[in-house]
Subunit: 155 residues, 2 copies
C-alpha cells in the first residue's frame, strides 16, 4: 500500500510512538471532515527508536495548534507541503509561555474565579519533563495533567 506523496498539506513527523491519535484529537480531526490523511504508528526511527507520523492533505496548522502539538509531541517536526515540495520545516518546541491553553488545577487560583476573568498563564519549568507553573499562584502542572486537559481521559 503506497501512501502517496501529498500535493499540499502537512506532514507531522517524529511524533513520540503511540501519540499520533492524540495529535489528531488536538487538531479535532475525526476523519469525518473529509481530509485525506495517513497515520503510521510505532514505526522505526533512527532518532527516536520508534515514532508515529501523520500526513494530512490540505490542512495547515495555526499558532495555538502548533503549541498544543508541542505539548503532546515535543519531538515533532512539522513539514508544510505545497505543490509536492516541502516549503517549510520546523521543529516544535514547548512554548516558554502558555496563554489560555491550560487551566490551573488550583481551584482557588484567581484564573478560576468566574467573576474576574483572568486568562491563565503558565511558564515552562526548565528540565527534562514537561512541567508548567501558573504565573498567578505558582501551582505546577505535570505532563499527565497536561495530556488529560488537552485530550481527555480516553484518548
Amino acid at each position: 500500500m503506497l501512501v502517496r506523496k501529498i500535493k499540499s498539506g502537512t506532514v507531522i513527523d517524529h511524533i513520540p510512538a503511540g501519540r499520533a491519535l492524540m495529535v489528531l484529537r488536538i487538531l479535532e480531526i475525526t476523519g469525518r471532515e473529509g481530509y485525506r490523511l495517513a497515520v503510521v504508528m510505532n514505526v522505526e526511527s533512527k532518532k527516536l527508536g520508534r515514532k508515529d507520523i501523520v500526513k494530512i492533505e490540505d490542512r495547515f496548522m495555526e499558532g495555538e495548534e502548533v503549541d498544543k502539538i508541542a505539548l503532546v509531541a515535543p519531538t515533532a517536526t512539522i513539514n508544510i507541503i505545497r505543490d509536492y515540495k516541502i516549503v517549510e520545516k520546523r521543529k516544535v518546541s514547548a512554548p516558554r509561555l502558555l496563554e489560555g491553553i491550560l487551566r490551573c488545577t488550583n481551584p482557588t487560583c484567581i484564573t478560576r474565579k468566574e467573576r474576574e476573568p483572568v486568562t491563565p498563564r503558565f511558564r515552562l519549568v526548565e528540565g527534562k519533563k514537561l512541567r508548567y507553573q501558573c504565573l498567578y499562584c505558582g501551582t505546577i502542572i505535570e505532563e499527565d495533567e497536561i495530556l488529560e486537559q488537552l485530550i481527555g481521559r480516553n484518548p
Copy 2:
C-alpha cells in the same frame, strides 16, 4: 512514504470513509499498545467512492470484535495476513442475532433489571439502514444509538 506490506496481521479494507478511528476504538487500540499500524482515510475507492483502510501488524480479530466492526463498518473486508500472504479474506456482515453487545434503550426492559440478569438479545431488522430490535421488549435501536453505545459520543 511507503507503508510496507505487513508480514503478519490484519488489513481492514473498505471501511466507510471517516470511520477508521471508530474501528480502532472498537479494537481498543490507542497506539500505546505498540502495534505497528497504518491508517489511511478518505482515499479513492472504486466500490465506495471514498474509503478508509486500517493495517495492524501482529493483531488478529476475534468473534465479538468482528461483529462490532460489522456494526460500524458494514462494508468492510477483513484480510488476515501470514507470511506476507492473505490467508483469509472475509466480508463482514451485520450479525442477524446480537447477544450481549448492545444495551436495550428501554429502561423497563427485562434486560435492564439488575436483579434478574438477562443477556440482551437483538435481531437485525432487514432493510438498508442498520436497525436492531430487542427480542424481549421489541424496542428498535437505530444506527446513531448503536454507534454511540459502541464508541461513545466523541469518537
